[in-house]
Amino acid sequence: MRTALIHEPIDAAALLQEVSSHGSGATTLFLGTVREVNDGRDVSGIDYTSYEAMAVRELAKIATEAVEKFGTPHVVVEHRLGALGLGDVSVAIAISHARRGPALDASRYVIEQLKQRVPIWKREHYTDGTREWVDPTRHGVAAPSGGAA
C-alpha cells in the first residue's frame, strides 16, 4: 500500500507495475482527468491545491481502509497538485486482487471516499479568462460535479 500527493505528472504504467503480483488475477486502474467542459462552461485548466498535512493522512487512512475491507495489500493512490491542463491525470488508483469483484469494489471505494474526505480543492480556469473554485455541494445529487472524474 502506498499513497502520495505529487507535484509531477502521474505515471500510470508505473502504478500498474507497482501493484502487479503473481497472486493477483485482476488489476484495476482508475484515472481522474481534467475535462474540457464542466457545467456547460469551457475549461482550459485546473489548479489543484490542498491542505497537504491533512490530505496525506486522510489519503493513507482511505487506502488502509481499502486494504482491510477488501483484503489486498496492493493499493496505490497518487493525487497530483498544481496547475493541470486538459487531459492531465489528477488522480490514479491502482489495485490488484486475487479476484475481480473486490478489485472493482476497492477501486470505487477509494475514489468515492477520496472525493468526500480528502482536503483538496480545485480552481477551474475557463476559456473566457475567468476562474472559479469548484464546489460540489452546490449541485444536486443527480448532476455531474467536479471538473475531473
Binding site: 491542505y51 493525487h79 464546489d135 460540489p136
Partner: protein
C-alpha cells in the same frame, strides 16, 4: 487564548489570508471559535463548515487547546 486558524481555497480568498490568529476564552469549543470567526468575517465562511483540528476532522463540540491548529475546510473537490 490565541488559536491558529488555517484557511483554504475560497475561504482564504474571501478573507484575503490563509491564516488567522483568533482570540477565544480558554476553554473553548470548535463552535465558539467558529462564532468568533463569524463576527470578524460574516458571510465569508458558512456558520457550520467542516473543521479539522490538528489534521483530523473534528466535531463542533471538540474542546480546543492553545496549541491546536484548526483548519476550516471548504467543500472538498479532489479527484
Amino acid at each position: 487564548m490565541n488559536v491558529r486558524v488555517l484557511l483554504f481555497a475560497s475561504y482564504a480568498d474571501a478573507l484575503g489570508t490563509d491564516s488567522l490568529q483568533v482570540d477565544v476564552p480558554a476553554p473553548s469549543r470548535v463552535r465558539d471559535l467558529l462564532a468568533a470567526i463569524q463576527e470578524r468575517a460574516s458571510h465569508a465562511v458558512p456558520p457550520a463548515p467542516l473543521v479539522a483540528v490538528n489534521s483530523e476532522y473534528a466535531d463542533l463540540d471538540q474542546v480546543l487547546g492553545a496549541d491546536d491548529e484548526v483548519a476550516i475546510i471548504p467543500p472538498v473537490a479532489g479527484g
